[in-house]
Symmetry: C2
Subunit: 347 residues, 2 copies
């Protein structure tokens, strides 16, 4: 095959490019090939762009996309060419005990996409991975397509934070992190019935969107000042549920400090050098749950796909910058400089 496609290339920290590369193609009979309609830049991609986490130079990147199935392997039975699909950032077999327990994101037979900022993407384990969307991309407006893209990662990840934190109707929930995931966490806490939602934010654009997504309060303080503020807002008892959408030690320690005894911290921020003191959490009965979000489970079993298609939620509003693939450098830079909350790539 000598066909090529355009793809975003991580050249080195701080430098992205667009190059012609060999076109993605079926490699196994369980694969599908998808033509990408929308992709985006993730906060975790910025770790590479900023040189804080290692990434191979001159290689493809990206793990969030929606698109149309172009071709499927012989063993694929549930999707066919022409189907419109959301591709969760993890791929999964869909049938092992881990998947059956609702944790497709950590399926031992699966893995993570890593080349989705491109015209085509190979989907391993297509039957256990693809989330079929009714109709075709042409049936949806830009806003709905953007929201569909969020249920490939950030909206499902925010939802995982809320589910892991065991948000219940009437709860006071605190959301740590005002990136796209944190904002989706606010929306998710509202969906699960939280009565009071305290968003931690010190950026006016993000705080404004948090309020539109359901935040009742915005706290700009950090560290002990944030803990003191939340304790004073909760009669000294702390929050019933904490959504930890950052992943730093600073954020985690703050989460522990402002959690009500017996609360669970739902953590979805990729941890960076975080050690959890067993003693520090044990004597307050503080739980810790979370990890990579089981996107497919939430999209299909918890109704996120339906909620987007039926316009009950509009998480796509986290995309405040829209680019074409040729402007991938600008898409990264705008997020890096916090000029946009999240960058969408149109194809």
């Amino acid at each position: 095959m000598n066909e090529t496609m355009k793809a975003a290339i991580f050249v080195k920290p701080g430098e992205m490019a667009v190059r012609e590369v060999p076109k993605a193609h079926l490699e196994r009979d369980t694969d599908a090939l998808v033509r990408v309609v929308r992709a985006c830049v993730c906060g975790s991609d910025l770790w590479y762009f900023r040189g804080l986490s290692p990434h191979p130079e001159n290689s493809q990147i990206g793990h969030e996309s929606i698109g149309v199935v172009e071709q499927v392997g012989d063993a694929v039975t549930t999707v066919a060419p022409g189907d419109f699909v959301v591709l969760p950032f993890p791929y999964s077999c869909g049938k092992c005990p881990v998947c059956e327990a609702g944790f497709e994101s950590v399926c031992p037979h699966g893995g993570y996409f890593g080349a989705s900022q491109a015209e085509y993407v190979r989907v391993p384990e297509a039957d256990g991975t693809c989330v079929k969307v009714p109709g075709s991309p042409e049936d949806y407006d830009d806003g709905t397509l953007a929201s569909l893209l969020t249920i490939a990662d950030v909206m499902s990840t925010g939802y995982h934070a809320a589910v892991s934190a065991e948000v219940r109707p009437g709860d006071t929930a605190v959301v740590m992190g005002d990136g796209a995931v944190g904002l989706c966490g606010v929306l998710s806490a509202r969906m699960l019935g939280a009565k009071r939602i305290i968003a931690m934010s010190r950026h006016e654009d993000r705080a404004a969107l948090a309020r539109e997504f359901g935040a009742t309060d915005v706290v700009a303080e950090r560290d002990q000042a944030a803990v003191d503020k939340v304790l004073s807002m909760t009669g000294g008892y702390g929050a019933d549920a904490v959504l930890e959408c950052v992943g730093s030690k600073q954020s985690f320690d703050t989460a522990v400090g402002l959690a009500r005894r017996g609360a669970v911290i739902g953590r979805v921020g990729l941890p960076h050098d975080v050690e959890i003191s067993a003693e520090g959490t044990f004597y307050g009965n503080i739980g810790i749950k979370g990890g990579p979000a089981p996107v497919r489970h939430y999209d299909l079993q918890s109704g996120l796909l339906d909620a987007v298609v039926n316009h009950e939620i509009d998480p796509g509003r986290v995309f405040t910058g829209v680019y074409d693939l040729d402007h991938i450098q600008e898409a990264y830079e705008a997020m890096d400089r916090r000029e946009v909350i999240k960058s969408l790539i149109r194809f």
Copy 2:
């Protein structure tokens, strides 16, 4: 008041005594005074006896008891002299947000008993603490009294491990620790519907009781060998739920190793120098929940009291040694030498 009572005294590591001390008495109008009918020695008391954790010398000790209310303060409304009560090892106000959330054991207005191996015990926050038992001690046989005593701590703690580990019907559950709490954890996993219960034990008497309590398998291996064994028993996927009833770093690391991705470790063993790697648990979506058991919640809201009174469970079988207070040294020594699983003190 010049009245005295007999009480167990922790003289120093390795040495217990019985002495006449000032009789416990009401100090606040929310207190009750209880005449102890049964008390016992806890695995955590052995940490002091062995000199591994500090405890004031020549002081009273003990936190598990059942008895009859002798006197109540003016503000107490829910118990009266003559009532037969279980005294959960934590006392609690019973009405703050932490108690209302079902975490009485970590009520910020509460604390822990520390002088229950005695003829009388003062009960702070009596209304929020006492678990009333129908009838009087004379209405129950020794076996049932022993079981009632377990719902002051070990049975409720084993139950907390199972609830925290989110044991569901059909699950494969692993119980780490074959002390009284671990054995009660086996019984609790069975109550919550676990289909397969793997007890970690290398002591024949404990393994035998574990089997009677519902264990389907007993694993004697430790560390990586235990992990390998459980993985081989579960098709390589690990256990759906892990009850960590030890508290050591070794046990916790083993628990992480044998947990199915997405599983929750219910931890109730007092942690000793355990640091939890956030990375090590995040990428497997491994949850950690637990802490001091909300005894009163489980006794009253989850039906442990009814289950004992109705003879549906017999957790009192963990008491394989029975002593009177004058033989408190023997009661501790027998547990220390693992000659008995748990020592009961009759009054």
